[in-house]
């Protein structure tokens, strides 16, 4: 019995870790491609937070699984179907509005999750959650601020933000298709869903962006290891070096 619980605990944390890892990698692509210097630095800083967070989660998962794997093993030695990141964070950096909308929708979601994990039975998960909540505030405020600036900036910036939100909302449905593992480790799934929906609705309304409907999932769920077309490309770039030179270390 104890083994099953550990396995499920690890699986729950892997979803969170992979989501942070992949979004971190996506944001790294923005390094030197930001719209201006300060924003470039901001996005790179947020990428560092995400990757650092993923690393801490992988270390925890390794302790739970007890297979002696390193954070590198988790990040670099798994294929698409072994990754459990949400499809939202795999979406490309089509333009700056996409980067911001993706970040905002993610930050609200993950903030809710870590808030619930503060009461985790595992001390280290609760401790890490406290740390993450402190750090994510900067990213969340930054993304929300840009949502307003783009949404009520010019007709063109509004049009772009609307297009980004329309696309990204296709992947919002699966965020709330909770399975038995989610239900076991999150203290209140209804609160998570309602919290996300009301915060996002408020921001979109203020940013003068129409909220698209959230459809039921029409793609297979990330919880089973199914992804959009982008994940394979992300991994091929991210994992190239450690796969080509297996002894390379961070």
């Amino acid at each position: 019995m104890a083994i099953t619980i550990d396995k499920e605990q690890a699986q729950f944390l892997v979803r969170l870790a992979d989501t942070e890892m992949i979004l971190g990698q996506r944001l790294c692509e923005m390094c030197s491609n930001g719209p201006f210097l300060e924003e470039d630095i901001a996005l790179s800083n947020i990428a560092l937070d995400l990757i650092g967070r993923a690393e801490q989660l992988y270390i925890l998962i390794s302790e739970i699984e007890g297979k002696g794997l390193s954070a590198d093993d988790y990040a670099y030695r798994r294929n698409e179907r072994e990754y459990f990141s949400i499809k939202l964070v795999e979406q490309p950096n089509t333009d700056f509005a996409w980067v911001i909308a993706r970040q905002y929708l993610h930050d609200v979601y993950v903030k809710e999750i870590f808030t619930q994990l503060l009461s985790s039975k595992i001390d280290k998960v609760a401790g890490l959650s406290e740390k993450v909540l402190k750090e994510i505030t900067y990213s969340h405020v930054h993304a929300r601020d840009w949502m307003f600036r783009l949404g009520i900036g010019t007709p063109e910036s509004n049009r772009r933000l609307q297009a980004a939100v329309d696309h990204l909302f296709k992947y919002a449905g699966e965020l709330f298709a909770f399975d038995s593992i989610d239900k076991k480790f999150l203290s209140d799934i209804t609160k998570l869903e309602q919290g996300w929906k009301s915060a996002v609705a408020l921001t979109l309304a203020e940013a003068n962006v129409k909220q698209p409907e959230i459809h039921k999932i029409y793609m297979r769920d990330y919880r089973e290891g199914f992804h959009s077309e982008y994940l394979g490309h992300i991994l091929s770039e991210m994992q190239f070096l450690p796969r080509a030179y297996p002894d390379a270390k961070w």
């Binding site: 300060e38 560092l48 650092g52 740390k131």
Partner: protein, 156 residues
Amino acid sequence: MVIQKEFGHLWELLSQIPDPEIPVINLVELGVIRKIEEKPDQDKVVITITPTYTGCPAKKLFNDLILEKLYENGYKNVELVSQLHPVWTTDWLTEETKAKLLKEGISPPTAENKIIQCPHCKSTDTRMISAFGSTPCQALYSCNKCLEPFNYFKCH
């Protein structure tokens, strides 16, 4: 900040290591060294470190610098323990450390990031340029009075 009086010689050694990104203060002043234990029976030193930010790129370097410093001083068997909780906070910087930062041109953290002083002309009429700066723990500011840009050590 010294949070423990025991093993003063080891605290002294570690306070000789400058922060690689903000060299005006050392690792002890930064508050990342939480505990030092010397175990003479095992001929071993155990050091507990709390990182500033989970994604801080200097994290790994901290470890290397500590090991190097202790090795040079004859401590060959050193164990580093990473401890996230209680989480690192800028409350652990002493007033003395904050004064040092200000003197070197980095505005020190203030409660809720409210009153932020220009390290150049000491005016508090300042504005944020970006919440993200040259290191994860700093933000970019500019002074409305003397117009100089400066780094602000974020309250965390």
